[in-house]
């Protein structure tokens, strides 16, 4: 099962390498990893999506928590949370069929952010399902390039609810 982990880390050199390296050498599967700084420039937040059973996720969490740079780790999988991913798609778009593409863009409430001679770049945000859907809706036109951010997520309400904060046992 896929788990979503919210990880606060110190912005120290090598922190991303340490985290990615941990996944690689212990044989855990990262589905996606998105990272950016928080309101505190000394702290970054990572949203890591990991695939594995409960035992694997428990080990992943404990091993991550062991890293000196990891300040806090929360498995928000069972929380109520908002998650988003962003995609940029460059799609073939001869002037003749642009209208059709624009309709799709509208349906998904996406945006056209660049127009080339024979192509368009479309930007969309949403949960994974929506992003997958817009990608497949545009596929028939011929996709030239796709870039996705991976998932970022945040618990609803003042605090995460069921999320088991990995504050040791």
């Amino acid at each position: 099962m896929k788990h979503t982990l919210a990880v606060l880390v110190e912005n120290r050199p090598g922190v991303l390498t340490r985290i990615a390296g941990l996944f690689a050498r212990r044989g855990y599967n990262i589905d996606s990893l998105a990272v950016g700084r928080t309101d505190n420039p000394l702290i970054s937040r990572m949203t890591i999506v990991v695939d594995g059973d409960d035992r694997v996720i428990e080990q992943v969490s404990k091993q991550l928590y062991k890293l000196i740079d990891v300040i806090k780790l929360t498995d928000i999988t069972n929380d109520e949370y908002v998650d988003r991913e962003m995609i940029l798609i460059k799609v073939n778009a001869d002037p003749a069929i642009r209208g059709e593409i624009m309709q799709i863009v509208e349906i998904f409430r996406a945006r056209i952010v660049d127009i080339g001679r024979n192509s368009l770049i479309i930007e969309a945000t949403g949960d994974e399902g929506k992003i997958n859907a817009i990608e497949s809706a545009l596929r028939p036109f011929g996709i030239r390039e796709v870039v996705r951010t991976g998932k970022i997520a945040m618990s609803r309400g003042p605090k995460h609810k069921n999320g088991k904060s990995q504050e040791l046992l």
Binding site: V9, K62, I68, I71, L168
Partner: protein, 583 residues
């Protein structure tokens, strides 16, 4: 004021200012050494090179820190590791950039696997040369990330004191381990004010865990209900200094005690409840006891595969209590029914309190009976021989000659397992071996660290003829520093442990384990200025050991032993603990 007076005043104040600057603003190298002194470092094992010359220049001036020049950086890191194991204080080693740094890698990994506090300091090319594949540049922080608790690349001299302070804190607290500080050459000559930060700011590092009282209660309950309990002690008991508490638990419950290789010394071998080592080359009675136990109390252990054998059948009737300082160890390999995160010493004290309050009064008579029967039926044994030296006999004799009070270091192989089986340890921090990584070449340099920590002690490195050649250059360091280390080579002319596997599992196809072409170890000893003795007859074993133990000189004893002897019992890799060969 006359102008002469004024001038004099100015001169004086200028001097004062200069002096003040000199006092407060130190070079990186000075800051490093001052910080090391503040951490109580007394000895550094190291090797110089271009990138760390400024540090060595400063060491030249320093009175309070002894530097031991090893003959190889791997020698330096293992020596620091041995020193740390012997004292419980962090070991410190120093190497130059590039090849100096990479030569530390095996030793750092070794310390990491065995949870040994170590601070490794490496020189690095100047900041401006970093990342350009400069001469003697290696990305040592990158290389060592998976085998250190933390690694630093110092980019600003003003961070240096803080980093050293943090490094020692990280290495020694929580689950101990190696920390690396990579120090670019220009940082060692730049100046900064020396400020030693009293407070540490590591928001992501909270190694102290409160012992969970409810879990202690559950553990106590499980113990009170147990019919066939076994206590299993690991290196964590030694690291935590919890031997006294372990003995108290054993005494209170009457439960038998077994240990991992790293746990040897945590519980006296001579104690009637001691079962010796468990696992691949553990005693048959320890393996059977764990196999049939209904409660396994794991203390500071990590349930390594050399201990458990086939995981799915390991202690399968037992409830498991697992106490460890590292929460990530709980449930990593073996499911713990009662996991307790915390310092073993603290947790055991709590547990003992609760058990005493509840009136611990277990009836283990039939369990003890069963174990005694196993002990009688399947003792550790080997065939004695009148004319050829049996390796086990040499270990027994070392034990007798030193009355079990020697500091024993080992290399890796059959001799290591025989040492673990036949040497009777009575105290923690007296038996030193590479448990997790299994590093041939560990013993000799580690023995230097142990002897530096205990100059008066009798130190024996029990070695194989293969292993001893992996860091034999350190004989020079040993003799030069007048360290009276005794090396007992159990010379079977083979990479014996590999040969044993080839014999048992590869149809006796002895591919490249025959060590024909050995040096003459007696002459080797003499070449280095040590005493060398070749011993070929059983009756000569004891006098040779007595001579070496009594002498203030370094000895190499080349015991020519039975080539075909194997280590038994043996649980084949991946088999269950009750499937022992040769018990």
């Amino acid at each position: 004021m006359s102008s002469a007076v004024l001038e004099e005043l100015q001169v004086r104040s200028r001097d004062d200012v200069n002096k003040a600057i000199k006092e407060e603003h130190l070079t990186g190298a000075q800051i490093l050494l001052k910080a090391l002194e503040k951490e109580g470092v007394e000895v550094i094992f190291g090797y110089p090179g271009g990138a760390n010359i400024p540090i060595y220049d400063e060491l030249y001036r320093t009175k309070n820190i002894t530097h031991i020049l090893t003959r190889h950086e791997q020698g330096a890191v293992h020596a620091a590791d041995g020193y740390a194991r012997a004292t419980g204080k962090p070991g410190v080693c120093l190497a130059t950039s590039g090849p100096g740094a990479t030569n530390l890698v095996t030793g750092i990994a070794n310390a990491y696997m065995d949870s040994i506090p170590l601070v490794a300091i490496t020189g690095q090319v100047a900041l401006g040369l970093l990342g350009r594949d400069s001469f003697q540049e290696a990305d040592i922080t990158g290389i060592t990330t998976p085998i250190t608790k933390y690694s630093y690349l110092v980019k600003d001299v003003r961070d240096l004191a803080r980093i050293v302070h943090e490094a020692f804190h990280l290495a020694t607290t929580g689950r101990p381990g190696p920390v690396l500080i990579d120090l670019p050459k220009d940082i060692t000559v730049q100046k900064a004010e020396f400020k030693y930060p009293p407070e540490l700011d590591l928001p992501g590092y909270k190694p102290r865990t409160m012992i969970n009282a409810a879990q202690i209660g559950k553990a106590a309950q499980a113990i009170l209900e147990a019919k066939r309990p076994v206590i299993f002690a690991g290196g964590g008991v030694i690291n935590a200094g919890a031997s006294k508490e372990l003995l108290a638990l054993a005494t209170l419950t009457g439960a038998p005690v077994t240990y991992s290789l790293m746990g040897k010394g945590a519980f006296p071998d001579a104690h009637p409840q001691c079962l010796g080592m468990v696992g691949m080359h553990g005693t048959a009675y320890a393996n059977y006891a764990v196999w049939e136990s209904d409660l396994l109390i794991g203390l500071g252990v990590r349930f390594d595969d050399r201990v458990t054998g086939k995981l799915s059948t390991f202690a399968s009737q037992a409830k498991v209590i697992h106490i460890d300082i590292d929460p990530a160890e709980l449930g990593k390999n073996v499911v713990a029914h009662v996991p307790i995160a915390g310092d073993v010493k603290e947790a055991l004290s709590e547990l003992l309190k609760v058990l005493k309050a509840k009136g611990c009064n277990l009836d283990l008579a039939s369990w003890r009976q069963k174990i005694d029967n196993w002990k009688r039926e399947y003792p550790l044994r080997y065939e004695k021989s009148g004319n050829v030296i049996k390796p086990q006999y040499v270990i027994e004799q070392i034990n007798e000659v030193t009355k079990g009070e020697a500091y024993i270091v080992t290399e890796v192989g059959q001799h290591q397992m025989w040492a673990a089986q036949y040497y009777q340890s009575s105290k923690p921090r007296t038996f030193f071996t590479s448990g997790g990584l299994g590093t041939m070449g560990f013993g000799l340099p580690a023995a230097m660290g142990v002897q530096m920590a205990h100059p008066e002690a009798v130190v024996f490195n029990i070695a194989g003829d293969g292993s001893i050649q992996m860091n034999s250059q350190e004989f020079a360091t040993i003799v030069h520093n007048k360290l009276p280390i005794n090396v007992a080579i159990l010379n079977n002319h083979y990479l014996g442990m590999v040969r044993q596997w080839q014999e048992l599992f590869f149809g006796k196809r002895y591919s490249h384990t025959d060590m024909t072409g050995q040096p003459d170890f007696v002459k080797l000893a003499e070449a280095y200025g040590a005493v060398g003795l070749r011993v070929e007859k059983p009756e000569d074993v004891r006098p040779a050991l007595e001579e070496a133990a009594a002498s203030p000189r370094a000895y190499i004893l080349d015991f020519v032993v039975d080539e075909s002897e194997n280590v038994f019992p043996m649980v084949p890799a991946g088999a269950s603990l009750n499937e022992m060969l040769g018990r």
